[in-house]
Each structure stands twice: as structure tokens, then as C-alpha cells.
Amino acid sequence: MFQKILIANRGEIAVRIIRACRDMGIQAVAIYSDVDREALHVRFADEAYPCGAPPASESYLAKERIIEIAKRCGADAIHPGYGFLAENGDFADLCEREGIRFIGPTGDVMRAMGDKVTARRTMERAGVPIVPGTTERLSDEAAERWIRDVGPPVMIKASAGGGGKGMRLVRREEEIAQAIARARGEALASFGDDGLYVERFIEHPRHVEIQVLADNFGNTIHLFERECSIQRRHQKVIEEAPANRMSQEMREQMGEAAVAAAKAVGYRGAGTCEFLIDADGHFYFLEMNTRIQVEHAITEVITGVDIVKAMIRIAAGDPLGIDQSELSITRHAIEARIYAEDPDNNFVPSPGAIVVYRPPGGIGVRVDDGVYQGARVTVHYDPMVAKLITWGRYRPEAIDRMKRALSEFVVKGIKTTIPFHQRVFRHPSFVEGRYDTGFIDEHMASGLGEPAETGEERRVALMLAAIAAYRRDKERAERASAHSDSRGDTSGWRAFGRRSQMRGGPR
């Protein structure tokens, strides 16, 4: 087993991985950019080294520097977390060349899955259902011909694509030529590769993914599914496991498809196969994420399997040691991502110092966070500050606990998406489990779903504003009089001063 692992990441996932190292008795090495010296992941680490200036390109993406730190401190392995270098095949290759184990699949596997056209062809060969469309890069003419044959609506996508870049929806034939041109331009600009392919467009699909684990001895298992249909700007905000409206046989079919996909590319480690499910309940392979997912925790809850520890053991060459037959779904889990954004102001980022931080607790609640009271959220990195995971024996219990946990979760100093989540979990469509990727646009357009303001809450708010104003004025007056005379003075303000000291004392 490894003696020392360098975590090439920051925030909650770095803390999550450090915890796994602690649990395994492995030394954890953190790296930090100049603004992260006081970040939580540094405080949790056994060793910590600066890795450069705040911009990720100069620190958390600085391949050579990170390798050099790993070699200098004698780390056996590097865990990339998610984002940053997690799906960078060249970095994986570099690690192996330098004799440091990269905790994840090989660079070749990442590249094979990174190129969507290649991935689609591989999956098709492996018998995994893909979204109907082309499986090679198309010339303008070929693309136009294909679209006219099948007819709109279709989606033009960049082969090197991801994150919605180089993607164009075609609803009317007149749009074809311009859409192709735009997509190529964006693809070239974003990825330096203008290869395109075309897919049939699926209206309001559901997004369901399968977690897989594969070791170096041909053992490949799946840990069931996660439903990730609650998205905003192609960004997942709420996930749950198991999925809604999922029959046991569909679960098995998707699980087998995901295992087949992983085997088709000789996958190693933890990975996720993302699928779209259309209105008729057909599922289509979308892409494979060759890393740990943000939402891995809900799968850990329902199966009891520690996925990060499994990744480390697999990378160290241990056999998986878990048989598919041992696994069953013993809980229902939900995750809410808490972002430093202002949901009442178009989700504008809200950086700053966290002056009050009280995460929720109690039964059925797990918080994976990367901040603490006094921590500072900067503009440089992903605005997610915490993941709130709740569970129960059944889904309603998990939702009840989520609503309760959100009501306990106090973060002051920055705005967060906690109030937004409180609206989502009260919404009938969510409570019934009948939603798709259109949920937020349909139901959460600003204002919509806003909790009906009770006169009660309003009255209390008015009173507290007055009380807070009064207390502030009073303290100011007290400070003033305290300066004006240092002799004993018996004005109400001074008396208040003494009382408040008494309040501090034992009672």
C-alpha cells in the first residue's frame, strides 16, 4: 500500500481524499496556491507545499511543478480529485513516466473516452446503446446531409467537447448551415479541434449515471445508479440515489451496459457512465467520466462502499475485494450542492469571508465541506463550498431530513444557494420524483417556488430589524460615553455595559 499520497486538488474533495488517507493510515500531502494557505484542506494535511499563484493555470494545473513537489516529498501516488487535472491524460502519462502512480485510469483510456466520436464508436461496438447519430467526424456537407435525412430537432456537438461548448441545437432546416459554422468555430476556439458529430435531440431527458469500479484483475462491478436531472446551466445541483421511476430490470440493464462500457476500454479505478433517459424510458450512453464524481457520496451511503478508499486500493494494485452479489441498496440518499452564489440575484457569485458557519447534524446527515468559520471564499475557483447529503430507509425520509438539515445550515458573510434548495425540496414535482432536466427552468425561474411569505415571519423580521438597530445604537452610545468619561457613570448605557459583562460570567 502507498505510504504517502499527494492530493492535486483543493476544497471539499481534497478534504474528502485526505480523510480517506487518514482512515487508511496513509500520509496526505496537500498543495496550495497563494490564496489557499489557510484553506481547510491544508489544515487537514500531514504535509503541505505551495504550488503557485492563484490562477489555476499557475498552480493546481501546473503539471511539472506538482510532479516536482511529489518527487521532492517522496509521494508514491497522486490523487487528482475532480476538475483540474483529473481527466488530463497527458498528466496521467507524466506521472507514470516519473514513477508516481496516478490514481485513476491510464492516459490512453482517458483520451479514448475524451474524444466523443471515438467513445461513441467504442460503445456502439460494445453493444452499449448510444444517442442515435453519427459516429465519425463529419464534413459540413455530410453533417447537413445527415440532418436533412433524419430531420430536426438535432444536436450538433464537438467531438472534443464537454460542458456545453461547441454545441448547437437545430430546430429548423434553415438554421443548419449557420449552426454548423458556429459549432465549428466554438469547437476550434475551445478545444483547438473543430471535429463535429450530430445526434438526435432528446427533449427534456432525465440524466441518470452508473458508478463503476474496476481493478487490475478483470473485476468490474457497478454500484447502481444516481439521478442527476436537477441541473442549472448544465451544472448538477441536486442528485439522488437510487433514481426515480427505475425498475429493477432497467437498473440491471443499465448496470450491465456500464460494466460493458468500462470493460470495452479496459477501465481501471472508479468511473461513471452517464446516460440520458428519454420520455419513453429508453436509455442512451452519453459519456464516461474517468474520475471521482462530486456526487459519489450518495452512492457510498446507499451501498456502504467507500469509493475513494476503493480507488486508492485499486491503484495500489490490490484486488477489488467486492463482489457484485454482495451489493444491495440499503438506503435512499440525496445530495444538495451548496454554492457561494446569491439565488435571489441570478446566482451571482458571492465570494468573501465566512463569519458564521454552522453545518447541520444529527441522524441521516453528512456534510462534505471545504470551508470553516473564518475561512475566505475567493473568486478564483469553483464556488461550491459544501455538499449536504441526507438519507433514510426510504426516499420520503431522506427528503424530510434534507429539509430539516437545510433549515439548520447557517452560513453568514457570503450568500449561498441554501434558500434555493429549500424551495426545490418543497416543490411537488420533486417530492413526487417526477422531474427531468427541464425542472429548474420550468419550476424555479426566479421568484417561482419562492416560499409563501407568512405574515408571522414578516412581523418577526420587522421586530428584529428594530431590535438590532436599537442594540447597535445603544452600544455606540455606550462606547461614546465610555470614552467621554472614564469615571464611574450611572447612565443606562453604562449599566448596560456592566450587565452585559455579567451575562458573560458563570450563572
Binding site: 457561494a340 465570494p351 447557517v410 415571519e457 431590535i467 447597535r472
Partner: protein
């Protein structure tokens, strides 16, 4: 002591406050007086008990008279002005009805200008786009009216509080 409490752009309510003993207040709203026990439990977190009902209330000061008050899941942006300061604050409000200056709420990079000086603009319509935290954020006009000035250039980096643009209300166009 009396306070005028109002939601931003809302009518104000007169709140009478009498401290009975420390942390215990008689509060009068709409002629009705209730006794309130407001204990501070940690910074900015109040435990409020009114006739047995307990509320955990978070209060953040915002500027001279502003208070953000969170009750349950509901956030209220309030202004509490004591009688003495009321006149002054009214003047402030009048000023606030003239041309509006919009400032950057966070540091970031200006990636796009969607309006030019002189363009008409609707409230909520985007004027500039700023990139921060790996996301593009459209900064909208607070009011219907016309863009008076754009204070930034594309590609420029701005700090918190930097002036972005100025808009004047539609009705001013009559002038």
C-alpha cells in the same frame, strides 16, 4: 424608541420599541404591543421567544440602516431608521430615485458589453457580462430607462465596488 422599518422600495412600518430588561422588549406594531425575549446565541444569531413561540433569526447589518433578516427560509432586506434619522434617509431615498450607478459586486473580468451609452434598457436586462469564479455573470440594469455611461472596457479587470455603468430612469427622458 420608534423605528421606521421598510422593505427596499416598500412602504415603511412604524415599530415601537421599549426595553423592559436586558434582552426583553415590548414591541408595538399597528397599535398592538407584544413582549419579546431576544437572546443572542453567537454572532448575529438570535433566539427570539414571543409568547412561547421560538424563532431562530439571523440578522446581518447592511450599511447605515440596512438589515438582512433571515426568518425560517425567508430572507428580508429591511431598513430600520429611528425617527431622528428619518428625514435624512428620506433625502437619501429621493437621491436614489435619480440616475442609478451599478457597481461590481465581486472582482472579475469584463468579458462583454451588451449595451452602449445612450441605449434604452429594461430593468433586469443585461448591460455588461463579468466573468468570475469560472462563470459568466450578466449584470442587469436595476431600472427601465437609458444607459447614461458605461464605465468599463471589455477585457478590463474590475475590483469589488468599481463603477460598471450608469442608467437614468425612463421618465427622466421627458426632462
Amino acid at each position: 424608541m420608534n423605528y421606521d422599518v421598510s422593505e427596499k422600495k416598500g412602504a415603511s412600518v412604524m415599530v415601537g420599541l421599549q426595553e423592559v430588561e436586558e434582552g426583553i422588549y415590548d414591541i408595538t406594531i399597528d397599535g398592538e404591543t407584544v413582549r419579546v425575549d431576544a437572546a443572542m446565541t453567537g454572532r448575529t444569531i438570535y433566539s427570539v421567544i414571543e409568547e412561547g413561540r421560538q424563532f431562530e433569526v439571523l440578522v446581518d447589518e447592511r450599511g447605515a440602516h440596512g438589515f438582512d433578516v433571515l426568518v425560517g427560509a425567508r430572507l428580508f432586506h429591511l431598513e430600520a431608521v429611528d425617527e431622528r434619522s428619518r428625514l435624512l434617509s428620506q433625502q437619501v431615498r429621493l437621491v436614489a430615485e435619480g440616475p442609478q450607478t451599478v457597481e461590481a459586486e465581486m472582482p472579475g473580468k469584463v468579458v462583454k458589453l451588451e449595451k452602449r451609452a445612450g441605449d434604452p434598457v429594461r430593468g433586469g436586462e443585461g448591460v455588461v457580462i463579468i466573468e468570475a469564479m469560472k462563470m459568466e455573470n450578466e449584470i442587469p440594469s436595476p431600472i427601465d430607462g437609458r444607459v447614461v455611461e458605461i464605465a468599463v472596457r471589455e477585457g478590463e479587470t474590475v475590483e469589488t465596488g468599481a463603477k460598471l455603468f450608469e442608467v437614468e430612469p425612463a421618465d427622466d427622458e421627458a426632462a
